[in-house]
């Protein structure tokens, strides 16, 4: 029994030791990270007192390599003046917003950083962002008006990049079918009916027949004429174009239940269901261009300008002969602007310095890699209005021919057709878009109509728009 007790005590103490070590190490880790956090602030304070430089951190999504590229840019800024020292923190895209949320809870946010489009108004409404209206005061060139995120009338962020929605097309397919290319000039934009008519000529079944011909086999289509991206946020374009919309212009009311909005969505669905010119897509995955233009199965497809640099440039090198055009329209000519935001967090002690850095960093020279590859479009107006700058931007092998891109993208982006996507001024767009995507699931396959689906769920959609509160 004595031995038993001793053994027991020994084991118990061993267990305790293990337990203590376990706890100790986890505590150590916590204090480590915590002290890391305080280190940056304390060292920034000490360094500012020593060298009189204010240290600010800028967070971005991307890999460690992308982070070091941006740090190299920041180092240029750091060397260019003696008041501000910028440190870049890169966080992988998948965990970026989660990490920022955690940091916000702990009061450990960076001074400034990127923020996902649909998070800006939410963060702003929770008081997490600074007003940046004053950022471009007295500057020679401002960002395009459609690129300002606005909450309660105040500018709370500018987009880090510009993107608009376009119509891409496969020139070889058009040449083969003897159909005129879609117009790259806004004044000549196709109406929806012209667009559908062209798409019919470009849709071919295995016997070479088109949708309005006798004996056409909708089950044996080998080439589709058109694909209109039906991710929920992009559908807003068509509701606006048809005189409806997702929301009222100030973002307060939901307009998706209006006939014009419903009709627009049904027209997009009918491209597959009735016109037989589009492949089926249920609007859930963000790979539209890969599935259509790059796969070589569809003649025309709508999607964002970023595709020029993320996928079409490679396809072009491999022989894809594609062009860009303005979107067709129903009643009004509309395309959407978007772009992830650069924000100044309200937890920062140095908002002025943070804005100065952002303003410097957002000048196009510093993001030249992304811009010249075609992934980002510049945000500052002068790149759209000064031809020398436009040529510098567009005349490179990553882009479609200059005249075409200049007209269908550069001019289009600063035209009256370009409107900010709703997350520039509305909260809870993720809730709304997720629900809309789910509501429309059976509309694309024709099991129900847009009218039925939306009317039945209108209350839920309205609730989603207010964050279900």
């Amino acid at each position: 029994m004595i031995t038993g007790k001793k053994m027991g005590a020994g084991l118990l103490s061993a267990a305790l030791v293990i337990g203590v070590i376990g706890c100790g190490s986890s505590e150590d880790k916590e204090t480590n990270t915590a002290s890391k956090g305080t280190d940056t602030t304390s060292s920034s304070e000490t360094s500012s007192s020593k060298t009189e430089k204010v240290k600010i951190t800028y967070s971005m999504w991307g890999s460690a390599e992308e982070g070091s590229v941006t740090q190299a840019v920041a180092d240029k800024f750091n060397a260019s003046q003696d008041r501000i020292e910028v440190e870049v923190v890169s966080i992988p895209w998948e965990t970026y917003m989660t990490k920022l949320n955690t940091q916000a809870t702990g009061g450990q946010l960076p001074d400034t950083g990127m923020l996902k489009e649909d998070g800006v108004i939410q963060w702003s409404s929770e008081g997490m962002l600074n007003d940046v209206s004053a950022m471009y005061e007295g500057s020679d060139s401002k960002p395009l008006d459609s690129l300002a995120y606005k909450y309660q009338g105040k500018t709370v962020a500018y987009a880090a990049a510009n993107e608009i929605l376009l119509l891409y097309y496969n020139k070889d397919m058009f040449d083969k079918a003897g159909v005129a290319y879609p117009p790259s000039v806004l004044d000549q934009a196709w109406t929806w009916d012209e667009f559908v008519a062209a798409a019919k000529k470009l849709t071919v079944d295995k016997n070479g027949k088109h949708p309005d011909e006798e004996g056409f086999d909708a089950n044996g289509i080998v080439q589709y004429g058109a694909s209109v991206e039906n991710l929920p946020w992009q559908l807003e374009t068509w509701t606006l174009s048809n005189g409806g919309g997702f929301y009222s212009t100030d973002g307060t009311d939901v307009r998706i239940g209006e006939d014009a909005s419903i009709e627009a969505i049904q027209k997009v669905a009918d491209l597959y269901l009735k016109d037989h010119v589009a492949p089926l897509s249920v609007g859930q995955t963000d790979d539209g261009i890969q599935r259509t233009i790059i796969a070589g199965t569809v003649a025309m497809a709508t999607n964002g300008a970023w595709n020029v640099g993320t996928s079409l440039n490679t396809a072009k090198e491999e022989g894809l002969n594609y062009g860009v055009a303005v979107l067709p329209y129903m009643k009004e000519k509309v395309t959407l602007n978007t772009g992830g935001a650069n924000v100044v967090f309200s937890q920062t002690k140095h908002p002025k310095e943070a804005m100065e850095w952002l303003k410097w960093y957002n000048s196009e020279e510093n993001n030249w890699g992304l811009i010249s590859s075609g992934i980002w479009m510049p945000t500052l107006q002068k790149w759209y209005t000064d031809e020398a700058l436009t040529r510098k931007w567009v005349e490179n092998p990553n882009f479609p021919p200059y005249e075409e891109y200049k007209s269908a993208v550069v001019d289009y982006a600063q035209s009256s057709a370009a409107r900010p996507a709703s997350w520039f001024f509305t909260n809870y767009t993720t809730d709304f878009n997720t629900l809309l995507g789910s509501v429309l699931g059976d509309v694309w396959t024709g099991k129900t109509t847009a009218k039925d689906a939306i009317t039945k769920n209108l209350d839920a959609l309205k609730a989603a728009h207010t964050g279900n509160k």
């Binding site: 027991g8 118990l12 267990a15 997490m128 997720t434 789910s438 279900n468």
Partner: protein
Amino acid sequence: METIHKPLKRRSRYNSSEARVAYICLIPAFLGLFFLTYAPLLGVLGISLTNWTGLKSPQFIGFDNYVQLFTTDPYIKDSIIATIYFAFLSVIGSMVYSFFIAMLLNRKIPARGLLRAIFYVPFVLPAAAIYVGWSWLYEANFGFFNFLLSQVGLNKVLFIADSSYVVPSLSLISVWLSGNLIVIFLAGLQNVPGVYHEAAEMDGAGAWKRFIHITLPSMSPIIFYNLLMSLIANLQVVTPALALTNGGPGNSSRFLTYLMYDQAFVNYKLGYACATTFVIFAILAAFTAVLFKTSSRWIYNEGGDDK
């Protein structure tokens, strides 16, 4: 009396010290369970009673999240149905499929080792590759299955693009992936005593009778284990929704775990997501409890009366 009493006492002492050692040895495991499982579970329960979004400090709102979940939430009902439907198809499908394959692989057939490897391989393939591959097979417009259908003159099937076919389609992948069950069944089958079969064969029992009266009862503990594991895994399904369908079309593949992920890490409604987590936990617990309750009726235990 003394003489009898003494050894008894010693025996009980021995027993109690043995118990003590056992308890002490269990401490590390208990600590792990407590801090890694039960404490977080309590934490989730606590957070589920708040409106925490991760940005502001949480406010206690009682059972509002649960009330909202069961009154106004547009997804939860479809989500529960989709999850149970998927788990039902996948569990039944993979149990029957893997038992059948294990029986085949247990016979003396040529290239048995190679075949065993072939049926196990899907289980160890990286999930991303698997789902990209299946998405090509299932694609509604130009997918391989639709190509085959068109070759034999049949109409297209939309598979994962159609809300009626998406869950069966995803279940099929899950069944195909059940190589781990095959391995466990195979190990069990190899432990079914050959003498029983020989004896039954002498008594004139045919293959079917021997399967029903010998193989199945002998395998019942293994079947129970696989059933339980498969049920829990399939009720927690999330990968196909994340990799292939994003919950669609409609809500037809918005499985509970996917719904929870969406609430927590897309919409950052952490309190609300924790409430959903507890609903998932309750559903899992209910199914597991039913399985355990009914198990004593059909599990054949060869030795020992401890349960």
